[in-house]
């Protein structure tokens, strides 16, 4: 899920390099069998293959659409966290006052409390970030060679620093131990926030109704966190994804069989044309065309690679 840059043609070809090798092999083998070994019966009718291609184009379009939907939703969640954090900040600033308090705090004390809440909020975001970077079995990019290579160029903070290291200085040692001891560290952060808010309410530094609003904000954070975890833990259903991949490879494998004969026919037409010209150019140029006509079936290879590449890349891009 890379969304920040424009891709150049070169990059795309580089990224899909390994697949292009496979397409070359998949189209080379039948052409060699056909052309060199003269297995002229290696031939499938094009129309059913075309139908499979059309069906695949649909399925992939729908899949990419769903994939885009997920990306967009992920972006929304992230945006939601930003918005909610800003709102939380003004609440911390303007809801924590001495107005209803039993013991008046000094400005400094209030500032320290506010800072503590904001810092712990940052801790929540850090924990969430780390949780979302844990590799999952279905994330192919950590296994797949082409992606691995690509990923190496990108620095991921979450894999360089441990959570414990990043928390230093943001929360007290006690809080840190508590958070790290829990399984779901993000939830622990919010629980701590809620506890402190409750104490502030009890001491009167947060008005009881403001407290309810701020608890609502905690609920909102849980919701956003839950949504982010859901996106992370629920990939595009595996059975769809596996089948799409499988269908694509069937299609790619059938493709040259459907086209070789077409190209061969074109070659024959060229040869016939050349023969009817006979009188015309007597030079070596004539032999070149004859040669092309005889080996026209080899053009199946680049053409088949281009189409395979389009379909395969279309499928891969939405992963």
């Amino acid at each position: 899920m890379l969304t920040r840059r424009n891709y150049s043609v070169k990059e795309m070809l580089g990224w899909t390099r390994r697949y292009i090798y496979i397409f070359v092999i998949l189209s080379l083998i039948p052409v060699i069998l056909y052309s060199v070994f003269k297995w002229y019966w290696l031939h499938l009718p094009w129309l059913p293959i075309g139908l499979v291609g059309t069906a695949l184009a649909f399925i992939i379009s729908f899949k990419n659409n769903a994939s885009y939907g997920r990306l967009w939703e992920a972006r929304k969640i992230w945006g939601g966290i930003v918005n909610a954090s800003r709102s939380f900040a003004i609440m911390v600033n303007d809801f924590i006052t001495n107005e209803h308090a039993k013991d008046h705090y000094s400005e400094d004390e209030l500032f320290k409390i506010k800072k503590q809440l904001i810092m712990r909020h940052v801790t929540w975001m850090t924990s969430l970030r780390h949780a979302l970077r844990t590799p999952k079995p279905w994330e192919l990019s950590s296994k797949n060679k082409s992606d691995k290579e690509y990923m190496e160029g990108i620095q991921i903070n979450e894999r360089k620093f441990t959570l414990a290291a990043e928390l230093d200085g943001y929360v007290t040692e006690d809080d840190k131990q508590f958070i790290l001891s829990k399984n779901n560290k993000q939830t622990a952060c919010i629980n701590l926030q809620s506890k402190q808010l409750r104490k502030l309410k009890e001491s009167g530094h947060i008005w009881e109704f403001s407290f309810l609003e701020m608890e609502q904000m905690m609920v909102e954070f849980f919701t956003l966190q839950g949504k982010a975890e859901r996106i992370k833990n629920f990939p595009y259903p595996r059975q769809f994804a596996t089948l799409n991949r499988f269908f694509i490879w069937i299609f790619v494998a059938l493709l040259p069989f459907g086209m070789m004969h077409e190209f061969d026919k074109i070659g024959n037409i060229v040869l016939e044309l050349v023969e009817t010209w006979k009188p015309y150019p007597e030079g070596g140029f004539h032999h070149v065309i004859e040669f092309i006509g005889n080996h026209f079936v080899w053009f199946t290879i680049p053409f088949s690679i281009v189409i395979s590449w389009i379909f395969h890349t279309m499928e891969r891009i939405g992963e």
Copy 2:
């Protein structure tokens, strides 16, 4: 609705095994009639069949899209229950206090009450889980042989333990009897929760406005429960599903009739080519190609199976 694992090709073939047998039979019969009994008139024009195939590809894509939408919604509901439960937990923790209470409870007493609420919440989730596992008439996977076989490998807790057994230790005996006596056990749980919250409010251990918030949470649980029940009780409309299946089988049955002649033509072309080569390879190799040419129509079978399999699996996967 299996979402946790990658499928291997072998698994997929295993899962669809029974259907593949049918495809074999459906394509074998016309080919035998055509090739052995020489019913050369068994032939349908390909283009209308192709049109039906295109139309099917659409319908199935839309269906799978709707199916994915349902899956995603189900996941959202489940995520919603997780989020709401976490929010409920911080409310139980921080809203139940002695602050406004008439009789102060000891920390232990408060803890016991909190635990009771949380435990009853777990009971609600357990009841809901059991309710969602009840088999429904339109759920084919419990009748269909291929799915049954597959399902046997998966252990479902809800079918091993009864609800009554699972509730032990979570709620008091009274509550348990009350819950089990009701038809909709989940609703009974929430009703009990609401009753206890009301008592806590009346004794002042929940501030009246916090009580309103917590009742809102009950409303939220009802909403989530209702959504889960809805997903369960409202499958993809049966009339669409039945027709799609029916269309697929019509398509699969017509497929070999549209392709046999095409393959036969290819065979004839191969034979012609062989004849024009005559002088060329005199060895046994020549007879092989002649043999292939004469029986080329038999290639209809694997090709037709592959296409049938693609369309059928596409349709089945979204069920």
Copy 3:
């Protein structure tokens, strides 16, 4: 909108019987003209017809998708009413107390009030159910013969009992007269509920803030009722529906013209094949094939019916 059962092939054929007769006629006429009267010029190129078919497949898919969306939304509204009713029930149970009341009511009096509110809520649901069953001009199923026949087998309570009869015993006679005198009976019910809630608030049996929550619930009921009425009163836009139907019939009518010639060609090929075999089977069997070849164009009829049926049923199912 039938969602409860699986359809068998027989049922589907039964349901679409009348249309199948029309398809038979529509394909029989051109074939007779072609084959018996030898109007061999009755022939249209297939490809443009195929294009129309592809376009139709799209439009119908989108329509069915929208149709499914409406069905799903209807189900959501119904689910919403269930959820809101359950929430209303716990509110009635736990918000109506003597806590803030000026005059304490006995448990019995409270129970009577609670029952009255719940009963009136049932009345609201009954009125809504009746309102949603009123036939509308665009609902074809009450006019269309095939559907009528089908519908006769289904008992609809709302058409057996009048609303007045169903209300008996649920509300007081006064309320009943008031409700029945209004145009929009559902709205009248909610107005009555709100009036009683207000009285309970004024006498202190509902705390003022709980009253606000319960009024919010009334707003929710209005919303759900409005949504249900909207789904009822706003069918899939008529102009789309009419055109789709019209396009389908154009397509069905053109279909045999595009296929007759194709089938005739196949017949000729069969005849040629038979002639080249001459020496081979001398028996009566030979004549059978010759007969089939000569009348192959008649196969247009079943094939055209199957395709017409697929497209037409696809269109009808989403209605």
Copy 4:
């Protein structure tokens, strides 16, 4: 956006009459050139035209889907206004009381105030209705001849009466002057409502918390009004609409060129058939078929019109 009636075939043909004339001309010209002037080179390969047709079918389907989405949303907004108005009505009825008031009003005075609020609400709806009827530059139906003709049959109240005339009797003269003096008259209405609610709150006739609820309702009205204005002011993006139209006309213009040759070929086949029959029917009937064969290319015209009409109407209907 007509949603109330069923269209008959006649109406549809009447409505699209003018376009049908254009289709006749667009297909007549090439056929005359081809058939009469013998410009046999007026011929384009069908397959690329078919591809354009398929692409158009997609684009139009998506557009119609979006169009249906807008229609549905418009209906939702309208339904939302109905629901909110009903809710506002019960609030006016049950929130305005003497309970917290400093000066008790008589029942009559309260009724007068309530009526004033409801009447002003009606004024808001009237103003909104008028605002939504103002013609916009991109609304083709006021310029396009076919639509104009059609529209004449429909009476639009908003174009018969001015807003000033319709407001008489609903609001006081002062309010009326204030509303009419503003640009956005709907907003002015709500501002007036809010002012009166505030006064009622200050005099204690609305409890302060009920006032907050009612202000929330004003916010809701602003939201609904804003949504209605948005749907009105933001048509389907013009660049999409213009291009779709343009693509359709390109397609319609290319259509006969792609089909003429096909029909001519069919004609030739018919002629050949007639010749091989020679001995057979010697009557005048023979000449009829020969005549049809020779002029078969003229069948391009109706066929091309039908397809043009389908594609064009499909595009227009979603406008």
Copy 5:
């Protein structure tokens, strides 16, 4: 994203002028090679190209749909800001009163405060507007020549005046310095608003519960601002966009190769026809048709340009 005007055909051609030149070159080169240099082997089978075209039509339709979705969402956000601003205005008007105040302010003082809040709200909108106009790397319209030319005709206020200049007179000098010193100027505005609201609450000029409502409005503004920033910062995923563009160019480049031979065949048919007529028109007219027949392949160019233009414009329009 231009939504305000109708496009004329001329404008569209003008806008896509530069691309049309490329299409001319891309189709001219192969035709010259084929026709002048007699490279008759420059020929690809049409059907696979058609399949690519169909697949592209899907992908582009989906992309345009997503693009329309974004446009619509952007419009919704803008509408949301309008609605929220109106609601904020009535709140400022009717929530800021002397009712609960410790020190009564004069009407003038209250008006000044209200004006200050409204003015600062305008400042927020101005800052947001400026933020949304900052050019981003993936916004092609600032780099692409065709778009640049087009854009020159449109005056963008945000690029003529700096934010500092526009703020003059709306906020106090202190506020202005504070806002301009921040990175995210919009957020700074809301923070200032919240601070003043808090002061007004503390001095009692806003009732504490009204204050909570107004803070909710601040949260709403943050949400809308965040949504607008999200739409701005998250374009249609770059990998999809780049690939679509790339696929289109592959398709456009392959197009003439697939069609040249078809047109050449048509030319040959024309020539044959002319020969069979021989006796018929002996004038110069005959030579014209012969000439057309011989050079029919050149018609590939306009036809290929039209199809390229349709596909390319379809893709560009959704950008």
